[in-house]
């Protein structure tokens, strides 16, 4: 999902750089306030860990393989602000050292993968954990949040590409979302398995930093939420309105219908003319909504399957 240079135009780059700078600045402030000095090297090591973890292959059918992306896993292990810092570092190093992801697109990539994927995923993780306590809840929450964050980041990416006029929104949204709904399932499963492995090897590592009841994370999450909402409103909302007529009438009322710059891509953005394309967008959105419910159920089942009942763990095999 790393957007290369040349795929987003000046205005999108500027908007995403501003949003990401605000998010990363917020994360830096929170990390400086909350993270004990002892943990500072852990940020660098966690970044290196994420990079190395992406090298470990998970075989999928037919000779292909997937790998962990780790936004939600990092957030669950380190807390949201440290995760944003770590994910931003990974993206910067990937950009400057390996040319993976563009320099001007760095803002967009940080916004999609660190702020929406990391902090946004953490908000979902927290929400689920409030409903489902214990280790089971943690595993289910990581699996579910991993899927959601992947799909959300893909939707943001599609919005940015469409806003730049590189790809039309219907096609970008359909392709990105449907592919990442599948990828996200793998991401959720891997995140849950890895968290469980850490939980088994060093339970205090999985609980101490971000997993245990986080003190006063509310205001922090609200700020990231505002940033993510602002980004979604900018990139996705103009396209996502299911009634284009409504959007156009608003544009006409505000009087900028014809003052808008001529689009770089002539055909698709002009109007939702092709019924097939319009249908595909609706179907993808519907599949996403249904998928959320299904994936939540699957995450819960997975947690039940993987984590033994708390009672059995507390009182192992009676004599």
């Amino acid at each position: 999902m790393h957007i290369p240079d040349g795929f987003i135009d000046g205005k999108t780059a500027a908007a995403t750089v501003l949003l990401s700078a605000a998010g990363v600045g917020l994360a830096m402030r929170q990390v400086r306030l909350r993270l004990p000095a002892r943990r500072v090297p852990l940020l660098g090591l966690a970044a290196a860990f994420l990079f190395a973890a992406q090298m470990v292959n998970f075989p999928v059918a037919g000779g292909t393989s997937g790998h962990l992306m780790g936004g939600v896993l990092a957030a669950a292990l380190l807390g949201p602000s440290a995760a944003v810092a770590v994910l931003t570092t990974v993206l910067i190093v990937q950009c400057f050292l390996f040319a993976d992801g563009g320099v001007l697109a760095l803002g967009a990539n940080v916004f999609n993968m660190a702020i929406v994927g990391g902090a946004g995923g953490y908000a979902i993780y927290c929400g689920v954990r409030r409903w489902l306590p214990g280790t089971r809840g943690q595993v289910a929450a990581v699996a579910f949040a991993g899927w959601c964050s992947t799909v959300l980041a893909a939707v943001c990416c599609a919005g940015q590409l469409a806003w730049s006029g590189t790809v039309g929104w219907p096609v970008a949204f359909t392709a990105m979302t449907s592919v990442h709904m599948v990828i996200g399932a793998g991401e959720g499963l891997i995140s849950a398995l890895v968290l469980l492995a850490i939980q088994r090897a060093r339970p205090e590592l999985a609980n101490e930093l971000g997993g245990a009841e986080p003190p006063r994370r509310g205001d922090e999450l609200v700020r990231y939420g505002l940033l993510a909402a602002l980004g979604l409103a900018l990139f996705v909302a103009p396209f996502a309105c299911p009634w284009p007529d409504g959007l156009e009438s608003v544009a006409a009322r505000l009087g900028f219908e014809h003052s808008a710059a001529p689009p770089a891509v002539p055909a698709p953005a002009a109007d939702y003319q092709a019924p097939g394309v319009r249908w595909a967008v609706g179907a993808t959105a519907l599949a996403g909504a249904a998928g959320t419910v299904v994936v939540f159920g699957l995450a819960w089942l997975l947690a039940r399957l993987l984590v033994p009942k708390p009672d059995e763990k507390a009182h192992p095999a009676k004599p």
């Binding site: 957007i3 290369p4 240079d5 040349g6 795929f7 987003i8 000046g10 990363v24 600045g25 830096m28 990390v31 400086r32 000095a37 002892r38 500072v40 090297p41 940020l43 660098g44 090591l45 966690a46 970044a47 290196a48 860990f49 990079f51 190395a52 973890a53 090298m55 470990v56 998970f58 075989p59 810092a85 770590v86 931003t88 570092t89 190093v93 400057f96 050292l97 390996f98 040319a99 563009g102 320099v103 001007l104 590189t166 790809v167 039309g168 096609v171 392709a175 499963l189 891997i190 398995l193 890895v194 492995a197 850490i198 090897a201 060093r202 590592l205 891509v265 002539p266 055909a267 698709p268």
Partner: protein
């Protein structure tokens, strides 16, 4: 794949380009990238000029062309993906070509920059332009331990492979995730040791 990531860097040795000051190189790279991204679709002159500049720095920097092509091919799945997506759209072919040219120029610029400038110099430039110190510390540590951890993961994979005779399909994900989990445990233990070492050397 691991070999690819570790062995992808071409140590350009001593050349005119690698001797240029890092700040100047990064600045020029940024100018090329910003100019290319902002250039209107029809600005052939700009693209040709940039191609000439890049070709000149490839020759002056004594970069092997085959290596550059391999890097480009490795990084272009996204470009291909958008090409496939655009194939479903009528009338988008022209914009697709522009995007491909733009992204190739920018990719080449970054590959050239990253292969002629040591990362520590890049960090020094970033520090000079007031990037937060915490971010720079994190980047420096990540860069230092990146290859250590990649090698550690590879060692664990090899150790596991040499001890497991047959790997039933359904256990593979389980095994891989154990490796990743163990990697995190080791990384955080290493972080503790690094902190102690930093303190012992008078950090802060």
């Amino acid at each position: 794949m691991i070999d690819h990531w570790i062995g992808h860097h071409h140590s350009g040795g001593d050349s005119v380009v690698s001797r240029l000051p890092a700040g100047l190189k990064l600045g020029m790279g940024l100018v090329i990238i910003v100019g290319t991204v902002l250039a209107p679709p029809g600005a052939m002159g700009w693209y040709v000029a940039m191609a000439v500049v890049l070709a000149a720095s490839v020759i002056l920097g004594r970069m092997p062309v085959w290596f550059l092509l391999k890097r480009l091919a490795w990084l272009s799945p996204f470009v291909l993906g958008v090409a496939v997506v655009n194939a479903f759209q009528p009338g988008a072919r022209g914009s697709w070509q522009t995007v491909a040219v733009k992204s190739t120029i920018c990719l080449l610029t970054v590959i050239l920059m990253s292969n002629t400038t040591p990362f520590s110099r890049v960090l020094r430039v970033l520090r000079a332009v007031r990037v937060p110190g915490l971010l720079i510390t994190t980047m420096a540590l990540m860069h230092r331990y990146l290859f250590v951890l990649v090698e550690e993961a590879e060692r664990m994979r090899r150790a596991r492979a040499s001890r497991t005779f047959t790997r039933p399909r359904r256990f593979r994900w389980h095994l891989s995730s154990t490796v990743v989990g163990q990697l995190f445990v080791r990384a955080s233990e290493r972080a503790e040791r690094i902190y102690d070492a930093m303190c012992a050397r008078g950090w802060k």
